[in-house]
Symmetry: C3
Subunit: 196 residues, 3 copies
Amino acid sequence: MAKYFAHPTAIVESDKIGDDTKIWAYTHILKGVVIGANCNIGDHCFMENGVKVGNQVTIKNGNMLFEGIELEDGVFVGPHVFFTNDLFPRSPRLPEASKRYIDHSWFKPTLIKHGASLGAASVILAGSVIGEYATIGAGAVVTKDIPSYSLVVGNPSRQIGWVCQCGLRLEDLGKTFQCKSCGKGYVLDNKTLKLI
Amino acid sequence: MAKYFAHPTAIVESDKIGDDTKIWAYTHILKGVVIGANCNIGDHCFMENGVKVGNQVTIKNGNMLFEGIELEDGVFVGPHVFFTNDLFPRSPRLPEASKRYIDHSWFKPTLIKHGASLGAASVILAGSVIGEYATIGAGAVVTKDIPSYSLVVGNPSRQIGWVCQCGLRLEDLGKTFQCKSCGKGYVLDNKTLKLI
Amino acid sequence: MAKYFAHPTAIVESDKIGDDTKIWAYTHILKGVVIGANCNIGDHCFMENGVKVGNQVTIKNGNMLFEGIELEDGVFVGPHVFFTNDLFPRSPRLPEASKRYIDHSWFKPTLIKHGASLGAASVILAGSVIGEYATIGAGAVVTKDIPSYSLVVGNPSRQIGWVCQCGLRLEDLGKTFQCKSCGKGYVLDNKTLKLI
C-alpha cells in the first residue's frame, strides 16, 4: 500500500508514487506518471502521462511537467520552471497543422540529470539534456544541452561559471576548481569538469 | 444545453462555451467569458470577464487571460504564457495611483490572430497584435506588434525567421520561401509574407 | 472576527488577514502568513510561512510567495511574478547538498517597498530590495537592488527611465522630471530621485 502523502485537494491518479513522497495542494498527477521515493512536490503542479521523476527530487510550486520530461534522482525544480516537448507548436485542432499531429514526430523529450538545479522561471526547450549537477539560473532560457556542473544564465542561456555538487559556485584556482564550502576539488578534462 | 466537458474541480461561470470544448482541473472561467467550439483548456487556467476565445484553440496549463485578451480561431497558447492589459500598473488601492483607475484609460487590449502560436512562458505586453500564423518563441518578451508568419525570440523579442501555416520553419529559397514538410510556398510582398 | 472574503475553493490557514481583503479561487495561505487590510489576492496564489504583506496590496493571479518575501503597503504584484529565497538552490534531499540545508544560511529575504510595481512574469532574485514606487517591467530579471522610482526592463534588468508615484513614466525636463498626468515634479539628488 502506498505510503506517500497527498493533500486533500490534490488529485493523484497514478499508483506509482514512492514512499515518503509528499504531494501538496491543487496538484494533479495523471495516471501514467512514475514518481520515486522521498520527493516533495509543491502546490499547483501538473504531471502528464509519460513523466518520470526519480528519488529525492524537490519540485517547487507551479510546475507543469509534460510527456517526455524525465528528472533523475536529486533534481531541484524551482518555482514555475517551464518545460516544453514541441519546438514548433501549433494548435493540433487547427486544420492547417493537424497533419503534423497525426503521429508523434513533433515530440522531443527532455532529460534533467542527477543532482541538477533548475532556477525559478527558467525555460527548458524541448530536446535539451541538462547535465549532472548543472545549475540553470532564474529566468534563463535554455536552448541547447548544458554540460555537467555548469552555471548558465540569460536569454538565451550562456555559461558564466561552474558549481559544486553541493550547489555553491566553484572558485577558479587556475589548474583546478574548488568549493570553499565543502572543499571538493574539480579539474577540466577535455572541456568536461570532473571531481578530483 | 451545453455540450462541453468540464473537470469536476473546474469552476465554469460562463454559459457561452462552445460544443466539444474541454476545460480541465482547477481552471476558473468567469461569467463574461466567451469560448468557441472544439477548444482544449488545460489545468490551472483563469479567464476574466471580457476574454474572447475562438474555435479550435489550444490553451495549455497555467494560462491567466485578463479582460481584453482575444484569441482568434486555431491559436495555440503554450504553458504559462503571460498576458497583461496595463503598461504602467500600480495597485489601484494605492492612494497615489487610484485616480488612474477611476476610468478605463489604463486599459490596452491584446489580439492574437488566426493560427498563431505563443511559446511556453512568453510574455505579451498589453496592446500587442500578434499576426496570423506567427510563432512567439518560448521565453520571448513581445513589446510590439508581430507580423504574420514571423518567428520571434528573445527579450525583447526580435524576428529570426518565418514559419509555415503548419508551424514549421520556412526555408529561404532567395525569391521565395518554402516549407519542406507540407510544400507550401510563400513570397514577400512589401515586407508582408503571403501564400503563393 | 475576521472580516475578509475568501473564495470557497481557497485554503486560508492564517488568522492574521486584515479587513476587507479578498482571497480568490484555489489560493493557499499558510498559517504563518500576515496580510494587511484592503488587499486583493488573485486565483492560484500560494503564500508560505514567514510572508508579510502590507495594506492596499494587489497581488494578481499565480503568485507564489516564499518565506522571506515582504511586500510593503500599496505594492502591485502582476500576474506570475517569480520570487526566490536561495541563490544556489539544490534539492535538500540530495545527499551531496543536504549539509547546506541543516541551518538557514542558504536563506536570503526580499523586500518590495511602498508603492512599487512588479510587472507580469518578472523574476526577483533572492536578496533584492525593490525601492519605493519602482516599476519592474514585464519579463525583467532583477539581479540586484533597484532604486526608488526607477523603471527597469530586460534580462538582466537595466534602468531605462523613471516613473511617477501614480505609475506613469516621467518626462525628463533637463534639471527636473515631471509627470504629464498628475503633474508631480521630481529632482535627482545624488543619484536618488526625490519628489519636489
